[in-house]
Symmetry: C2
Subunit: 453 residues, 2 copies
Amino acid sequence: MDITVVLPQKEIPRRWYNVLADLPTPLDPPLHPITKRPVRPEDLEAIFPTKLIEQEVSNERWIDIPEEVLRTYCLWRPTPLRRAYFLEKALGTPARIYVKDESVSPPGSHKPNTAVPQAYYNKMEGTRKICTETGAGQWGSALAFACSRFGLECEVYMVRVSYNQKPCRRRMMEIWGARCIPSPSDRTETGRKILAEDPDSPGSLGIAISEAIEVAVSSKDSKYALGSVLNHVLLHQTIIGLEARKQLESIGEYPDVIIGCAGGGSNFAGLALPFVKDRIEGKEIKIIAVEPASCPTLTKGKFLYDFGDTSGKTPLLPMYTLGHNFMPPPLHAGGLRYHGMAPIVSKLFKEGIIEARAVNQLESFAAGVAWARAEGTIPAPETNHAIAAVIEEAKLAKEEGRERVIVFTFSGHGLLDMGAYEAYLEGGLSNHALSEEEIQKTLKEVNAITRQE
Amino acid sequence: MDITVVLPQKEIPRRWYNVLADLPTPLDPPLHPITKRPVRPEDLEAIFPTKLIEQEVSNERWIDIPEEVLRTYCLWRPTPLRRAYFLEKALGTPARIYVKDESVSPPGSHKPNTAVPQAYYNKMEGTRKICTETGAGQWGSALAFACSRFGLECEVYMVRVSYNQKPCRRRMMEIWGARCIPSPSDRTETGRKILAEDPDSPGSLGIAISEAIEVAVSSKDSKYALGSVLNHVLLHQTIIGLEARKQLESIGEYPDVIIGCAGGGSNFAGLALPFVKDRIEGKEIKIIAVEPASCPTLTKGKFLYDFGDTSGKTPLLPMYTLGHNFMPPPLHAGGLRYHGMAPIVSKLFKEGIIEARAVNQLESFAAGVAWARAEGTIPAPETNHAIAAVIEEAKLAKEEGRERVIVFTFSGHGLLDMGAYEAYLEGGLSNHALSEEEIQKTLKEVNAITRQE
C-alpha cells in the first residue's frame, strides 16, 4: 500500500546545497559580452538584486533558505516521492523506480522553486517590478505566481507565436495578477525596431530576453529574472534532491541511477546535485541528463564560451552549446529547446561526473503515454524525455537481472499540453531529427565563436 | 510551517461510510419510469453490476473498500488537508480554514473516488466495456482513467458542443485509452433519430445519457456508469470526509462549518456525510451545500419524484428538482448544472440536517481569483462556489469575533478552465441570474410532474 514516501513539513530542508563548494576545479568565470573580461558582480547590479549575485559566485556549501521562502514552499512542498509500482509491473523489471513529483506546485512544474526566492530577495531589496521572458509559459507563470506572493508587479514578455497559440499559461499569469505582453512589443526600442521591419514577426526567446532586460534596466526599482542556466537558479532547485535524499533514506534506499530531463539544466541539477558529491567521492552512481535528439546540447555540442541569449547581449558563459544562433526544430518540449546548458551541468559532464543521453520526440511521447496508462498522471513533454530514459534503464536492469534503484524528477504535468498528445496519438508528430549536415553546419558556427574569442 | 496535515498511506480508511444506516427515516425508493412502482434490484442488472446494486440499497453502516481499489486510491490518496493561512490573513479572520484537496488525482477532481471502484466491480463481474456520458468532461476523464487501471474498454458520449469547445478533457480520455464520441452520434438509434431531424444538433446531457445506456444494454458484457446522484456514488465519495476527520483529529480540530459545492451532490456529500451522524446526534455543526444561483435546485426547487435524466428514461428519484426539463443558463461551472439533487442530500436538506446556499457566477469567480492570489492554486469553476461561501463564513466569524473551524472540499483544479477565467478577468461574464418569472415557470412545470404521479 505504501506508494508515497511522505516527508513531514517540519523536516523540510532549511538550506540549499551549493555544489560550487565541492567541484574538483572551479568554474571558469562568465565574461563580459563586449570587453570579454570576467564579469564583476557590480556589472550585474542593474539587473539582479545583490543577494542573488552573491549566491551566483558563493563558495559556501550550504545556504540558508529564508523563513518566508520556506513558508511559501510549504504551500506545496515537500513534494511526494512515489514508487512507480505499476510501471515496474508493466515492464516486468526488477528495478525499483521512484518518481519525485514536482508537478504538484500551483504553476505545475519545478520552476517556482527558484521563482519564489528570486521574488523574495527582490522584495527585500526594494524592487517594485520584475520583468522576464517566457517561451511556452512555464517560467512566466511560475514567476507570476511568485510575484503574487510578495506583492510585486510582474511583466512577462512572451514569444508572440506562443502567446497566440498557447493562451492557457498566459491566462494563468493574469489570474496571479501579472501582465503578459506578446513579444516583439511596442514597449521597447528592441521591439519597435523589429516590428518596423516585420509587423508580423512571430518573435523569439532572444527578442523577448532583450525586451525584458531593456525594461528592467530602464527603471531603478525594476529588475530582471532568469528561470534556468545560472548558478543561483540551480542552487534553489537543489531543494528537490535534498528532499528526495531524506525520503529515500527514510525507507533505506539509495539511488543507483538518477535521471532528469535537461533544457537549461535546472530541473536536472535540482535532483542530481545533492548526489554529485557522493559521485565525486567515488560512489558508484549513474547520473543521466536527458535531452531531445533534435537539440542535443551535451551529446553533440561543444564546450566553449557562448552567449546565454540568441541576440548576444548577455555575458559569455562557459558551457556546452550548439551555438547561440542554433534554431531547434519546433519540438513540443518547449523547455528543452535551449541552445546551451548551465555552466555547472556542463562542467560536470566535461569532467565525466554525469552522463548525457538524447531521446527523440516520438520515443518521448510513447514513454509519456505508457506512463499515463500505468501510473495515471499525464507528464509534460519535457518530462517524457526523462521517462523514456527511465524505461530504458529499467529494461536494462531486467536484461541484466539486477535490482537497481532508479530515481527521476517528474518536472511538470502535461495538462496544458494536450494538443501535443493529440498530435502524437493521431500520428501527426515526427522526430524532427537533425541531419548530419545540419549538425555539422551548427558546429561550424560554434567553432567560429571559439576563434572569435 | 505546518500548512499540510498529512495522513500516512497505512492509515487510509479501509471502509466507506454508508449514511443510509443512520438516517432518521429511510429514503423513499426510486420508482420505475413506466410502472411507477418501486424499482427492484433486478431491474437494474442490465446496466449496473450486482455489487453496485447491492451497495445502492444496503443499510450496512460500513462497507469494506476492496484491496485493489485501495491500491489505486494510493496513487493520489490520502489527499492533503491544508490550512489556508494566507487566505485567513488576507481576510483578517479569526476563523481557521482547512481545505481538503481533491484536485490532486490524475484526472484533477474527486470523480475518480467512485470511478475506480465502479470500474473494479465491473471488472470482477466480467464486464468488458463501460459506457457513460459526460458534459464538460470531468466524469468522462475520471472513468477513462479508472478503466485504464483495470484493462476495461471505455466509451464516453460527450455532449457535442463541449466535445468541440473543450477538446482538452477529450484528449485526456484518449491518452488513457478511452473512446470519446460526440453526442448525438450515428452509433445509436437515439442519436441517428436526432441527427436525422437536426444534423447540427449541439447535443445535451439527456441525449448523451440515452446513447450511453442504449449501447450499454445492447451487449451482455457492457455496462453503464453514473458519476453522481446515486447512493453508491455518494458512498464511495465518503473517503474524502473519513480522511478529513482523521486529519483534523490528528491536530485536535473539529469543524464548526463544513462546505462543499453541490451539482449532483456527490462532492458535497463526500466531505459532509461522515459528519452528518454527529449532526443528527445533536452536535452543533453547520453543513452547507453551495449551488449556483442560476441552477438553484435546493434553494428554489421542489422536493418530489422526478426523472434523473432530461429524456425521462431513468427511474424517478425522490429529490429536490427544478424539473427535468429545466435548462440552466450556460454557466462555466458545468458540473453544477444538474436539474436535481442526490436523494440522500435532498433528504438531509428536507430534514433540516444540512443547509443550502446559492452563489452567483461573478461572486464565485471573484472568490476563485482571491483564492489563487492568496493560496496559489487555481480552482475549478465549481469549486469557486464553495470558496465564495467559505469567504462569507470567514467574514461572519470576523464580525462575530469568533474562532471557527471551517472545512471545505477543493473539488477540482481549474487548469482546463482558463477560458472561463479569461472571460471573467476581461469583464465578459455575467451572472445569468434567473428572473422571478423564469423560476415560476420552472416550478409550474415541476408541479405538473407531481400531479402526473
